[in-house]
Amino acid sequence: MELLCLGLNHKTAPVEVRERFAVGTSRLGEASLALLDLHGVAEGLVISTCNRTEYYLAAEDSSHAVRELENLLAKLAGSDASPHFYRMERAEAARHLCRVVSGLDSMMLGETEIFGQVKQAYQLALDAGATRGVLNRLFQRAFTVGKKVRTNTSIQEGSTSVGNVAVDLAEKIFGHLKNSEVMILGAGEMSRITAQSLVSRGARSIIVSNRTYDRAVELANEMGGSAVRFDAWEEILARVDVVISSTGSPHAVVRPEHVERVRRARKFRPLFLIDIAVPRDIDPAVGEIEEVYLYDIDTLEQLAVEARQRRERQIVECENIIEAELAKLDLPGL
């Protein structure tokens, strides 16, 4: 019995190719079972996420099984996508699966979502009766490796995007965000992404203020918040906890006197200001006010870069864990 992996991911195929091979979660078990119809294939499993689709097979003759699978995929996709596919066999395929489960092959290095996605795909294939001895042992071992990598290394620590860094900082200041109100100054894309991250972690309400009021209303509706006219944002400052500013103004929009005026009304509560505009919207002198925590785009980006670098430094350690665990795996297909 030989182990084989055929797949494509964000590194080998653009989204317009990946989407042709994507399999919905509800159909993963069925798709895994369909692989057993291929001649000589004893076990099969399909993993499909937004960044990858991979087929794992245990077959008597791997080269024959690959040809069969490629033909099937060519029929499904309607054109030849083979240049986008990678093919791995035996130990290389097992190593690849461990890297995938550990988040080492993900677009965002060390992300944890993939672990759950692979586990779900495996469970669906198992329930459908598409996996047996070889793939069951391989995937169980891969999950052990994934857990070990996350426990014994810091591959998942720190936020690697500006939005997530901002959310982590907000949580460090306010704890649960369910009691926190957020104001967005300027309805740009970066503001929207950062605010969405805050909403996804439970921020209580979003207030959008923009020079073009209609755009503020549009963004507020999209995020389930409310809009205020740009000349009214100073009043709102008295009650919000987080301000995300990205107005495109050539001058500072938020100045120390604006915050000084509302300090008493705020009872000197902590205020988190996120300035993602270039040129900056918030006068750096605002950050000198005691209860204000001010972060600009460079600081947030720097924190994200440092987290990415920290994760990259962990790769070797992760690979060592994978090799050590694979050495313990005594599979006939390896």
């Binding site: 200041i173 704890g175 000197f268 209860e291």
Partner: protein, 255 residues
């Protein structure tokens, strides 16, 4: 025997602090700190129980006993407040303070080697002593929470966010809530202590002590009043909690 229970409590608090700091340095949560501190509390109970039996009253007759009572109170409030608010790191910051109080109590001359029974125990005097020291335990923990806030505030302000300590510190808002509640609790207990102090029979020599206690109580009252009515920045609240506690320690060390 009582001295050995105090030695055990001191060693356990030292382990709690050292273990916690080592864990935090490595970027981990110090889950064992609460266990070491619980062990410290048990030893403190044993010490205070033995001394109380020997005195036939609340064991607050010499400086050593006062310090151990204070350490016990701080440990007790930490165990009540810390896990409830999921601020495990509070133990890492509290343990060194507990250690210092107990180590100071072990210094020669601080503890009577053969404690004598206290004649004519007065309930107001007992209430005054016990609630006052209990209050200072809560206020000591408030000061510890204040230090934690100041560390976190500095790290957030200066964008020093890489340390294990930063990752393990509780959020600013949680620290400020805990700090305020501890100040209120300490203030409430101190009020009972002050009232009992004026009701207990006392001669003129006790007056400076009571006036100092009243001044400290008023100072805490002003801080809580300003914070509740007008509002106060976290930094000022934390500095006030810390400064007032150090001030009260110094006052009672000399008066």
């Amino acid at each position: 025997m009582d001295r050995w229970t105090l030695v055990a409590a001191t060693v356990l608090s030292l382990i709690a602090g050292a273990w916690g700091m080592w864990s935090v340095h490595r970027g981990h949560r110090s889950r064992w700190t609460v266990v070491w501190m619980a062990g410290t509390l048990l030893c403190q109970f044993a010490f205070l129980g033995l001394r109380g039996e020997a005195r036939g009253a609340c064991p607050l007759a010499d400086r050593g006993e006062v310090l151990v009572f204070l350490a016990w109170s701080l440990t007790l409030f930490y165990l009540l407040v810390g896990p409830a608010y999921r601020i495990s790191l509070l133990g890492v910051f509290s343990a060194p303070v507990v250690f210092c109080f107990q180590a100071a109590a072990l210094l020669p001359g601080m503890l009577d080697s053969s404690p004598e029974k206290i004649a004519g125990v007065n309930p107001w005097h007992e209430t005054h002593s016990a609630t006052s020291v209990l209050a200072y335990g809560a206020l000591a923990l408030a000061a510890v929470a204040g230090v934690m806030f100041l560390v976190l505030d500095h790290q957030l302000k200066e964008h020093h966010l890489k340390s294990g300590l930063f990752r393990n510190l509780p959020p600013v808002r949680e620290l400020l809530v805990s700090l305020t509640r501890l100040l209120r609790l300490g203030g409430f207990l101190l009020t009972i202590g002050i009232v009992a102090g004026f009701l207990m029979p006392h001669d003129k020599s006790a007056l400076p002590h009571l006036v100092a206690a009243l001044a400290v109580w008023l100072a805490y009252l002003v801080v809580l009043g300003v914070h509740g009515i007008r509002g106060m920045t976290g930094r000022r609240l934390a500095c006030s909690a810390l400064a007032l506690f150090v001030f009260s320690l110094l006052v009672f060390a000399f008066i």
